[in-house]
Symmetry: C2
Subunit: 238 residues, 2 copies
DNA sequence: GCATACCATCTTGTATACAAGTTGGTATGC
DNA sequence: GCATACCAACTTGTATACAAGATGGTATGC
Protein backbone atom coordinates (compact mmCIF):
# COMPACT_ATOMS: atom_id res chain seq x y z
CA UNK A 1 0.00 0.00 0.00
CA UNK A 2 2.95 2.29 0.58
CA UNK A 3 5.78 0.96 -1.52
CA UNK A 4 7.98 3.98 -1.01
CA UNK A 5 10.07 4.55 2.10
CA UNK A 6 11.24 0.98 1.81
CA UNK A 7 14.71 0.98 3.24
CA UNK A 8 14.90 -1.88 5.67
CA UNK A 9 12.51 -3.51 3.24
CA UNK A 10 11.55 -6.78 4.90
CA UNK A 11 11.41 -5.18 8.31
CA UNK A 12 7.92 -3.88 7.62
CA UNK A 13 6.24 -7.16 8.41
CA UNK A 14 5.83 -6.35 12.08
CA UNK A 15 4.91 -2.90 13.19
CA UNK A 16 1.68 -2.34 14.97
CA UNK A 17 1.80 1.44 14.67
CA UNK A 18 2.22 1.33 10.91
CA UNK A 19 -0.58 -1.21 10.54
CA UNK A 20 -2.88 1.05 12.52
CA UNK A 21 -1.78 4.01 10.44
CA UNK A 22 -2.72 2.21 7.24
CA UNK A 23 -5.99 0.98 8.70
CA UNK A 24 -7.15 4.42 9.80
CA UNK A 25 -6.16 5.86 6.45
CA UNK A 26 -8.23 3.20 4.73
CA UNK A 27 -11.12 3.97 7.06
CA UNK A 28 -10.92 7.57 5.94
CA UNK A 29 -10.60 6.64 2.26
CA UNK A 30 -13.58 4.31 2.44
CA UNK A 31 -15.66 6.87 4.32
CA UNK A 32 -15.98 4.74 7.40
CA UNK A 33 -14.52 7.82 9.02
CA UNK A 34 -16.13 10.90 7.53
CA UNK A 35 -14.62 14.37 7.41
CA UNK A 36 -15.57 16.11 10.62
CA UNK A 37 -15.98 12.89 12.62
CA UNK A 38 -14.50 13.01 16.09
CA UNK A 39 -12.96 10.16 18.03
CA UNK A 40 -10.58 9.46 20.88
CA UNK A 41 -7.35 7.52 21.07
CA UNK A 42 -8.98 5.00 23.39
CA UNK A 43 -11.78 4.31 20.91
CA UNK A 44 -9.27 3.52 18.18
CA UNK A 45 -7.15 1.46 20.58
CA UNK A 46 -10.15 -0.72 21.42
CA UNK A 47 -11.15 -1.15 17.79
CA UNK A 48 -7.58 -2.08 16.86
CA UNK A 49 -7.04 -4.27 19.93
CA UNK A 50 -3.94 -2.34 20.87
CA UNK A 51 -2.79 0.15 23.45
CA UNK A 52 -2.81 3.88 23.08
CA UNK A 53 0.90 4.13 22.31
CA UNK A 54 0.95 2.80 18.74
CA UNK A 55 -2.45 4.36 18.08
CA UNK A 56 -1.10 7.71 19.11
CA UNK A 57 1.96 7.22 16.95
CA UNK A 58 -0.25 6.46 13.97
CA UNK A 59 -2.47 9.46 14.61
CA UNK A 60 0.48 11.83 14.86
CA UNK A 61 1.68 10.44 11.55
CA UNK A 62 -1.74 10.99 10.00
CA UNK A 63 -1.79 14.48 11.42
CA UNK A 64 1.44 15.32 9.68
CA UNK A 65 -0.04 13.90 6.50
CA UNK A 66 -2.95 16.27 6.82
CA UNK A 67 -5.70 13.75 7.41
CA UNK A 68 -6.62 14.43 11.03
CA UNK A 69 -6.30 17.14 13.62
CA UNK A 70 -5.86 16.88 17.35
CA UNK A 71 -8.07 19.10 19.51
CA UNK A 72 -6.21 20.08 22.60
CA UNK A 73 -7.17 17.54 25.23
CA UNK A 74 -10.49 17.09 23.53
CA UNK A 75 -10.14 14.30 21.00
CA UNK A 76 -9.23 13.93 17.36
CA UNK A 77 -11.12 14.92 14.24
CA UNK A 78 -10.99 13.85 10.65
CA UNK A 79 -10.00 17.01 8.87
CA UNK A 80 -13.01 18.41 7.00
CA UNK A 81 -12.83 18.60 3.23
CA UNK A 82 -11.34 21.79 1.98
CA UNK A 83 -11.70 22.06 -1.76
CA UNK A 84 -9.24 24.89 -1.91
CA UNK A 85 -6.63 22.48 -0.58
CA UNK A 86 -7.44 19.83 -3.15
CA UNK A 87 -7.35 22.31 -5.99
CA UNK A 88 -4.04 23.62 -4.78
CA UNK A 89 -2.68 20.09 -4.68
CA UNK A 90 -3.95 19.46 -8.19
CA UNK A 91 -2.10 22.57 -9.32
CA UNK A 92 1.13 21.40 -7.73
CA UNK A 93 0.64 18.08 -9.48
CA UNK A 94 0.35 19.90 -12.78
CA UNK A 95 3.53 21.82 -12.10
CA UNK A 96 5.53 18.75 -11.14
CA UNK A 97 4.26 16.51 -13.90
CA UNK A 98 4.63 19.10 -16.61
CA UNK A 99 8.18 19.63 -15.54
CA UNK A 100 8.75 15.88 -15.50
CA UNK A 101 7.37 15.44 -18.98
CA UNK A 102 9.51 18.25 -20.28
CA UNK A 103 12.56 16.61 -18.80
CA UNK A 104 11.60 13.25 -20.27
CA UNK A 105 11.34 14.79 -23.71
CA UNK A 106 14.81 16.24 -23.34
CA UNK A 107 16.46 12.97 -22.37
CA UNK A 108 18.59 11.26 -24.98
CA UNK A 109 17.47 7.74 -24.23
CA UNK A 110 13.90 7.28 -23.06
CA UNK A 111 13.73 5.54 -19.67
CA UNK A 112 12.49 1.94 -19.71
CA UNK A 113 9.53 2.96 -17.59
CA UNK A 114 7.96 4.50 -20.68
CA UNK A 115 7.94 1.12 -22.35
CA UNK A 116 6.04 -0.29 -19.38
CA UNK A 117 3.49 2.46 -19.67
CA UNK A 118 3.11 1.79 -23.37
CA UNK A 119 2.18 -1.80 -22.69
CA UNK A 120 -0.54 -0.68 -20.32
CA UNK A 121 -2.06 2.32 -22.05
CA UNK A 122 -1.36 1.95 -25.77
CA UNK A 123 -3.57 -1.07 -26.28
CA UNK A 124 -6.48 -1.87 -28.55
CA UNK A 125 -9.97 -0.99 -27.41
CA UNK A 126 -10.69 -4.65 -26.71
CA UNK A 127 -7.79 -4.93 -24.30
CA UNK A 128 -8.80 -1.98 -22.21
CA UNK A 129 -9.88 -2.61 -18.65
CA UNK A 130 -13.17 -1.26 -17.40
CA UNK A 131 -13.09 -1.77 -13.65
CA UNK A 132 -13.10 1.64 -12.01
CA UNK A 133 -10.91 0.66 -9.08
CA UNK A 134 -8.30 -0.97 -11.26
CA UNK A 135 -8.13 1.85 -13.75
CA UNK A 136 -7.98 4.36 -10.93
CA UNK A 137 -4.94 2.60 -9.48
CA UNK A 138 -3.33 2.38 -12.90
CA UNK A 139 -4.01 6.04 -13.46
CA UNK A 140 -2.18 6.87 -10.25
CA UNK A 141 0.76 4.79 -11.35
CA UNK A 142 0.80 6.39 -14.80
CA UNK A 143 1.31 9.83 -13.36
CA UNK A 144 3.68 8.70 -10.65
CA UNK A 145 5.83 6.81 -13.13
CA UNK A 146 6.16 9.87 -15.33
CA UNK A 147 7.74 11.65 -12.39
CA UNK A 148 9.79 8.68 -11.23
CA UNK A 149 11.17 8.21 -14.72
CA UNK A 150 13.00 11.53 -14.49
CA UNK A 151 15.25 10.00 -11.85
CA UNK A 152 14.54 12.64 -9.21
CA UNK A 153 13.58 10.46 -6.25
CA UNK A 154 12.76 13.39 -4.01
CA UNK A 155 10.40 14.89 -6.55
CA UNK A 156 8.79 11.47 -6.90
CA UNK A 157 8.36 11.24 -3.13
CA UNK A 158 6.72 14.64 -2.93
CA UNK A 159 4.49 13.80 -5.86
CA UNK A 160 3.60 10.50 -4.22
CA UNK A 161 2.56 12.36 -1.10
CA UNK A 162 0.25 14.56 -3.13
CA UNK A 163 -1.16 11.54 -4.90
CA UNK A 164 -2.00 9.86 -1.61
CA UNK A 165 -3.52 13.04 -0.34
CA UNK A 166 -5.94 13.51 -3.22
CA UNK A 167 -6.68 9.83 -3.72
CA UNK A 168 -9.76 10.09 -1.56
CA UNK A 169 -11.52 12.29 -4.09
CA UNK A 170 -9.65 11.24 -7.20
CA UNK A 171 -11.08 7.72 -7.11
CA UNK A 172 -14.54 9.14 -7.50
CA UNK A 173 -13.50 10.22 -10.97
CA UNK A 174 -13.49 6.61 -12.14
CA UNK A 175 -16.96 5.61 -11.14
CA UNK A 176 -18.24 6.64 -14.55
CA UNK A 177 -17.45 4.72 -17.72
CA UNK A 178 -16.85 7.68 -20.06
CA UNK A 179 -14.09 8.99 -17.81
CA UNK A 180 -12.31 5.64 -18.04
CA UNK A 181 -12.42 5.79 -21.83
CA UNK A 182 -11.21 9.36 -21.83
CA UNK A 183 -8.35 8.40 -19.55
CA UNK A 184 -7.20 5.76 -21.99
CA UNK A 185 -7.26 8.06 -24.98
CA UNK A 186 -5.65 10.95 -23.15
CA UNK A 187 -2.90 8.87 -21.60
CA UNK A 188 -2.25 7.39 -25.00
CA UNK A 189 -1.89 10.81 -26.57
CA UNK A 190 0.42 12.00 -23.82
CA UNK A 191 2.61 8.92 -24.12
CA UNK A 192 2.89 9.25 -27.87
CA UNK A 193 3.82 12.88 -27.60
CA UNK A 194 6.52 12.10 -25.04
CA UNK A 195 7.93 9.28 -27.12
CA UNK A 196 8.06 11.60 -30.11
CA UNK A 197 9.80 14.25 -27.99
CA UNK A 198 7.10 16.79 -28.62
CA UNK A 199 7.58 18.57 -25.33
CA UNK A 200 5.19 21.45 -25.89
CA UNK A 201 2.40 19.18 -27.01
CA UNK A 202 2.95 16.67 -24.23
CA UNK A 203 2.87 19.40 -21.61
CA UNK A 204 -0.28 20.88 -23.02
CA UNK A 205 -2.04 17.53 -23.20
CA UNK A 206 -1.01 16.66 -19.68
CA UNK A 207 -2.15 19.95 -18.28
CA UNK A 208 -5.52 19.68 -19.94
CA UNK A 209 -5.84 16.09 -18.81
CA UNK A 210 -5.23 16.88 -15.15
CA UNK A 211 -7.40 19.96 -15.21
CA UNK A 212 -10.29 17.97 -16.64
CA UNK A 213 -9.88 15.44 -13.89
CA UNK A 214 -9.77 18.23 -11.35
CA UNK A 215 -12.97 19.78 -12.63
CA UNK A 216 -14.75 16.45 -12.85
CA UNK A 217 -13.77 15.37 -9.37
CA UNK A 218 -14.95 18.64 -7.97
CA UNK A 219 -18.42 18.12 -9.33
CA UNK A 220 -18.63 14.52 -8.20
CA UNK A 221 -17.36 15.21 -4.72
CA UNK A 222 -19.86 17.98 -4.16
CA UNK A 223 -22.63 15.67 -5.23
CA UNK A 224 -21.35 12.83 -3.09
CA UNK A 225 -21.12 14.96 -0.01
CA UNK A 226 -24.72 16.04 -0.43
CA UNK A 227 -26.21 12.62 -0.96
CA UNK A 228 -24.15 10.28 1.23
CA UNK A 229 -24.86 11.85 4.62
CA UNK A 230 -24.47 15.23 6.22
CA UNK A 231 -20.81 14.98 7.11
CA UNK A 232 -20.44 18.67 7.87
CA UNK A 233 -22.35 19.98 10.82
CA UNK A 234 -22.75 23.57 11.87
CA UNK A 235 -19.39 23.61 13.57
CA UNK A 236 -17.51 22.86 10.38
CA UNK A 237 -19.04 25.90 8.76
CA UNK A 238 -17.10 28.50 10.66
CA UNK B 1 11.21 28.43 14.20
CA UNK B 2 8.36 26.66 12.45
CA UNK B 3 5.69 29.25 11.85
CA UNK B 4 3.65 27.07 9.53
CA UNK B 5 1.14 24.50 10.72
CA UNK B 6 -0.20 27.09 13.09
CA UNK B 7 -3.83 26.33 13.59
CA UNK B 8 -4.48 26.40 17.29
CA UNK B 9 -1.87 29.16 17.22
CA UNK B 10 -1.24 30.01 20.84
CA UNK B 11 -1.42 26.37 21.89
CA UNK B 12 2.15 25.81 20.81
CA UNK B 13 3.64 27.30 23.93
CA UNK B 14 3.57 24.03 25.82
CA UNK B 15 4.53 20.85 24.10
CA UNK B 16 7.50 18.93 25.27
CA UNK B 17 7.66 16.71 22.20
CA UNK B 18 7.77 19.67 19.84
CA UNK B 19 10.42 21.41 21.89
CA UNK B 20 12.57 18.29 21.76
CA UNK B 21 11.94 18.01 18.04
CA UNK B 22 13.19 21.54 17.49
CA UNK B 23 16.15 21.03 19.79
CA UNK B 24 17.36 17.88 18.04
CA UNK B 25 16.92 19.55 14.68
CA UNK B 26 19.03 22.45 15.86
CA UNK B 27 21.63 19.99 17.15
CA UNK B 28 21.79 18.51 13.68
CA UNK B 29 21.90 21.92 11.99
CA UNK B 30 24.69 23.10 14.27
CA UNK B 31 26.64 19.89 13.79
CA UNK B 32 26.45 18.92 17.43
CA UNK B 33 24.97 15.78 15.95
CA UNK B 34 26.94 14.80 12.88
CA UNK B 35 25.66 12.71 9.99
CA UNK B 36 26.28 9.10 10.86
CA UNK B 37 26.22 9.66 14.63
CA UNK B 38 24.31 7.07 16.58
CA UNK B 39 22.37 7.56 19.78
CA UNK B 40 19.57 6.02 21.80
CA UNK B 41 16.22 7.35 22.96
CA UNK B 42 17.37 7.14 26.57
CA UNK B 43 20.41 9.29 25.89
CA UNK B 44 18.25 12.01 24.39
CA UNK B 45 15.72 11.67 27.19
CA UNK B 46 18.41 12.27 29.79
CA UNK B 47 19.87 15.24 27.92
CA UNK B 48 16.42 16.76 27.54
CA UNK B 49 15.34 15.91 31.09
CA UNK B 50 12.26 14.13 29.82
CA UNK B 51 10.92 10.63 29.43
CA UNK B 52 11.23 8.48 26.36
CA UNK B 53 7.69 9.13 25.18
CA UNK B 54 8.04 12.71 23.89
CA UNK B 55 11.58 11.96 22.76
CA UNK B 56 10.32 9.08 20.71
CA UNK B 57 7.56 11.22 19.27
CA UNK B 58 10.10 13.84 18.24
CA UNK B 59 12.40 11.26 16.69
CA UNK B 60 9.59 9.71 14.65
CA UNK B 61 8.76 13.20 13.43
CA UNK B 62 12.37 13.80 12.48
CA UNK B 63 12.46 10.44 10.76
CA UNK B 64 9.54 11.40 8.58
CA UNK B 65 11.33 14.64 7.81
CA UNK B 66 14.32 12.68 6.61
CA UNK B 67 16.80 13.71 9.27
CA UNK B 68 17.27 10.46 11.19
CA UNK B 69 16.78 6.75 10.77
CA UNK B 70 15.82 4.12 13.29
CA UNK B 71 17.85 0.91 13.30
CA UNK B 72 15.67 -1.96 14.31
CA UNK B 73 16.09 -2.33 18.06
CA UNK B 74 19.56 -0.96 17.75
CA UNK B 75 19.42 2.79 18.17
CA UNK B 76 18.98 5.84 15.99
CA UNK B 77 21.31 7.42 13.50
CA UNK B 78 21.61 10.85 11.97
CA UNK B 79 21.06 10.20 8.30
CA UNK B 80 24.34 10.55 6.42
CA UNK B 81 24.65 13.28 3.85
CA UNK B 82 23.51 12.28 0.42
CA UNK B 83 24.37 14.92 -2.12
CA UNK B 84 22.12 13.35 -4.68
CA UNK B 85 19.22 14.07 -2.34
CA UNK B 86 20.20 17.69 -1.87
CA UNK B 87 20.66 18.25 -5.58
CA UNK B 88 17.28 16.69 -6.24
CA UNK B 89 15.71 18.98 -3.68
CA UNK B 90 17.40 21.99 -5.27
CA UNK B 91 15.91 20.94 -8.59
CA UNK B 92 12.43 20.68 -7.13
CA UNK B 93 12.93 24.13 -5.65
CA UNK B 94 13.79 25.43 -9.10
CA UNK B 95 10.67 23.88 -10.56
CA UNK B 96 8.37 25.26 -7.89
CA UNK B 97 9.86 28.73 -7.77
CA UNK B 98 10.03 29.14 -11.52
CA UNK B 99 6.41 28.19 -11.72
CA UNK B 100 5.60 30.62 -8.93
CA UNK B 101 7.41 33.47 -10.61
CA UNK B 102 5.63 32.79 -13.86
CA UNK B 103 2.32 32.91 -12.09
CA UNK B 104 3.25 36.13 -10.34
CA UNK B 105 4.07 37.74 -13.66
CA UNK B 106 0.68 36.73 -14.99
CA UNK B 107 -1.28 38.23 -12.12
CA UNK B 108 -3.13 41.46 -12.76
CA UNK B 109 -2.34 43.10 -9.46
CA UNK B 110 1.00 42.27 -7.88
CA UNK B 111 0.61 40.83 -4.38
CA UNK B 112 1.62 43.12 -1.52
CA UNK B 113 4.32 40.65 -0.54
CA UNK B 114 6.38 41.89 -3.47
CA UNK B 115 6.43 45.35 -1.96
CA UNK B 116 7.82 43.90 1.26
CA UNK B 117 10.55 42.15 -0.68
CA UNK B 118 11.38 45.39 -2.48
CA UNK B 119 11.99 47.14 0.81
CA UNK B 120 14.44 44.44 1.83
CA UNK B 121 16.33 43.70 -1.34
CA UNK B 122 16.13 46.82 -3.52
CA UNK B 123 18.19 49.03 -1.26
CA UNK B 124 21.32 51.07 -1.72
CA UNK B 125 24.68 49.41 -1.21
CA UNK B 126 25.10 51.19 2.12
CA UNK B 127 21.87 49.75 3.49
CA UNK B 128 22.78 46.18 2.71
CA UNK B 129 23.31 43.81 5.60
CA UNK B 130 26.47 41.78 5.81
CA UNK B 131 25.88 39.27 8.58
CA UNK B 132 25.87 35.81 7.04
CA UNK B 133 23.26 34.35 9.36
CA UNK B 134 20.87 37.24 8.87
CA UNK B 135 21.20 37.32 5.10
CA UNK B 136 20.83 33.57 4.97
CA UNK B 137 17.53 33.80 6.83
CA UNK B 138 16.38 36.65 4.60
CA UNK B 139 17.33 34.64 1.55
CA UNK B 140 15.14 31.79 2.73
CA UNK B 141 12.27 34.18 3.23
CA UNK B 142 12.78 35.74 -0.19
CA UNK B 143 12.30 32.46 -1.96
CA UNK B 144 9.52 31.29 0.31
CA UNK B 145 7.62 34.52 -0.12
CA UNK B 146 7.79 34.25 -3.88
CA UNK B 147 5.92 30.96 -3.58
CA UNK B 148 3.55 32.14 -0.87
CA UNK B 149 2.64 35.18 -2.93
CA UNK B 150 0.99 32.97 -5.53
CA UNK B 151 -1.67 32.08 -2.99
CA UNK B 152 -1.17 28.33 -3.23
CA UNK B 153 -0.75 27.44 0.43
CA UNK B 154 -0.06 23.78 -0.25
CA UNK B 155 2.72 24.59 -2.68
CA UNK B 156 4.14 26.97 -0.09
CA UNK B 157 4.04 24.22 2.53
CA UNK B 158 5.85 21.77 0.30
CA UNK B 159 8.38 24.41 -0.62
CA UNK B 160 8.85 25.24 3.04
CA UNK B 161 9.59 21.59 3.77
CA UNK B 162 12.26 21.57 1.10
CA UNK B 163 13.71 24.80 2.47
CA UNK B 164 14.00 23.32 5.94
CA UNK B 165 15.54 20.20 4.55
CA UNK B 166 18.34 21.94 2.69
CA UNK B 167 18.92 24.64 5.26
CA UNK B 168 21.69 22.63 6.84
CA UNK B 169 23.90 23.02 3.80
CA UNK B 170 22.42 26.20 2.37
CA UNK B 171 23.60 28.29 5.29
CA UNK B 172 27.16 27.45 4.40
CA UNK B 173 26.64 29.44 1.24
CA UNK B 174 26.57 32.68 3.23
CA UNK B 175 29.81 32.34 5.10
CA UNK B 176 31.60 34.18 2.31
CA UNK B 177 31.14 37.88 1.64
CA UNK B 178 31.02 37.76 -2.17
CA UNK B 179 28.07 35.39 -2.10
CA UNK B 180 26.14 37.83 0.04
CA UNK B 181 26.76 40.61 -2.46
CA UNK B 182 25.79 38.38 -5.34
CA UNK B 183 22.58 37.45 -3.53
CA UNK B 184 21.62 41.10 -3.23
CA UNK B 185 22.23 41.86 -6.89
CA UNK B 186 20.56 38.70 -8.15
CA UNK B 187 17.51 39.06 -5.91
CA UNK B 188 17.24 42.65 -7.07
CA UNK B 189 17.31 41.64 -10.69
CA UNK B 190 14.71 38.95 -10.17
CA UNK B 191 12.40 41.28 -8.31
CA UNK B 192 12.66 43.96 -10.97
CA UNK B 193 11.92 41.44 -13.70
CA UNK B 194 8.85 40.17 -11.83
CA UNK B 195 7.56 43.68 -11.20
CA UNK B 196 7.98 44.45 -14.89
CA UNK B 197 6.12 41.25 -15.78
CA UNK B 198 9.05 39.90 -17.77
CA UNK B 199 8.23 36.29 -17.08
CA UNK B 200 10.85 34.69 -19.30
CA UNK B 201 13.63 36.84 -17.92
CA UNK B 202 12.55 36.39 -14.32
CA UNK B 203 12.44 32.63 -14.69
CA UNK B 204 15.84 32.53 -16.32
CA UNK B 205 17.40 34.72 -13.64
CA UNK B 206 15.86 32.69 -10.87
CA UNK B 207 16.99 29.42 -12.33
CA UNK B 208 20.54 30.63 -12.73
CA UNK B 209 20.47 32.10 -9.24
CA UNK B 210 19.42 28.85 -7.58
CA UNK B 211 21.77 26.76 -9.66
CA UNK B 212 24.70 28.94 -8.68
CA UNK B 213 23.77 28.52 -5.06
CA UNK B 214 23.49 24.80 -5.58
CA UNK B 215 26.92 24.56 -7.14
CA UNK B 216 28.52 26.77 -4.52
CA UNK B 217 27.02 24.88 -1.63
CA UNK B 218 28.19 21.63 -3.07
CA UNK B 219 31.78 22.76 -3.09
CA UNK B 220 31.65 24.23 0.40
CA UNK B 221 29.95 21.21 1.90
CA UNK B 222 32.49 18.85 0.47
CA UNK B 223 35.26 20.96 1.90
CA UNK B 224 33.57 21.22 5.27
CA UNK B 225 33.06 17.51 5.53
CA UNK B 226 36.70 16.91 4.85
CA UNK B 227 38.09 19.37 7.34
CA UNK B 228 35.66 19.25 10.27
CA UNK B 229 35.99 15.57 11.15
CA UNK B 230 35.56 12.28 9.39
CA UNK B 231 31.80 11.95 9.65
CA UNK B 232 31.50 9.19 7.09
CA UNK B 233 32.95 5.86 8.02
CA UNK B 234 33.28 2.81 5.82
CA UNK B 235 29.69 1.82 6.36
CA UNK B 236 28.36 4.98 4.76
CA UNK B 237 30.26 4.22 1.59
CA UNK B 238 28.11 1.35 0.42
C1' DG C 1 -38.44 28.19 32.92
C1' DC C 2 -33.66 29.96 32.80
C1' DA C 3 -29.00 30.91 33.94
C1' DT C 4 -25.04 29.68 36.58
C1' DA C 5 -21.81 27.01 39.25
C1' DC C 6 -20.04 22.69 40.23
C1' DC C 7 -18.40 18.04 39.61
C1' DA C 8 -17.78 13.42 37.59
C1' DT C 9 -16.03 11.79 33.42
C1' DC C 10 -13.33 11.80 29.60
C1' DT C 11 -9.48 13.68 26.92
C1' DT C 12 -4.59 14.18 25.62
C1' DG C 13 0.31 14.62 27.28
C1' DT C 14 3.87 12.45 29.85
C1' DA C 15 6.20 8.99 32.71
C1' DT C 16 7.11 4.38 33.82
C1' DA C 17 6.99 -0.75 33.32
C1' DC C 18 7.34 -4.77 30.57
C1' DA C 19 8.49 -7.64 26.27
C1' DA C 20 11.29 -9.12 22.63
C1' DG C 21 15.47 -8.84 20.24
C1' DT C 22 20.31 -7.12 19.13
C1' DT C 23 25.03 -6.59 20.39
C1' DG C 24 29.49 -6.61 22.18
C1' DG C 25 32.46 -8.51 25.49
C1' DT C 26 34.15 -12.52 27.98
C1' DA C 27 35.11 -17.01 29.19
C1' DT C 28 35.92 -21.45 27.44
C1' DG C 29 37.70 -25.04 24.47
C1' DC C 30 41.49 -26.15 21.62
C1' DG D 1 46.84 -17.06 20.27
C1' DC D 2 42.35 -17.88 18.05
C1' DA D 3 37.65 -19.10 17.23
C1' DT D 4 33.25 -19.99 19.17
C1' DA D 5 29.43 -20.00 22.36
C1' DC D 6 27.16 -17.73 25.81
C1' DC D 7 25.40 -14.06 28.59
C1' DA D 8 24.59 -9.51 30.58
C1' DA D 9 23.52 -5.06 29.22
C1' DC D 10 21.23 -2.20 26.22
C1' DT D 11 17.87 -1.11 22.43
C1' DT D 12 13.32 -0.27 20.46
C1' DG D 13 8.25 -1.50 20.49
C1' DT D 14 4.23 -1.80 23.26
C1' DA D 15 1.35 -1.58 27.42
C1' DT D 16 -0.01 0.64 31.49
C1' DA D 17 -0.15 4.37 35.07
C1' DC D 18 -0.40 9.07 36.33
C1' DA D 19 -1.20 14.27 35.64
C1' DA D 20 -3.56 18.23 34.15
C1' DG D 21 -7.12 20.18 31.83
C1' DA D 22 -11.54 20.31 28.88
C1' DT D 23 -16.46 19.16 28.75
C1' DG D 24 -21.09 18.17 29.35
C1' DG D 25 -24.71 17.16 32.45
C1' DT D 26 -26.97 18.24 36.82
C1' DA D 27 -28.36 20.54 40.72
C1' DT D 28 -29.16 24.90 42.69
C1' DG D 29 -30.65 29.65 43.02
C1' DC D 30 -33.96 32.78 41.36
Amino acid sequence: MEPSRSRGASASRENLAQRIYEQIKLDIFNFRLLPGDRFSENEVAERMQASRTPVREALLHLQRDGYVDVLYRSGWQVRPFDFKVFENLYDVRIILEISAVKRLCEMETPPPALADLKRIWLVSAAERLDDGGTVSALDERFHEMLVEATGNAEMALIHHGITERIRIIRRLDFTKGPRIEATYTEHGKILRAVLQRRAEQAQMLLKTHIEESKAEVRKITLHMLHTARRPLDDKAAD
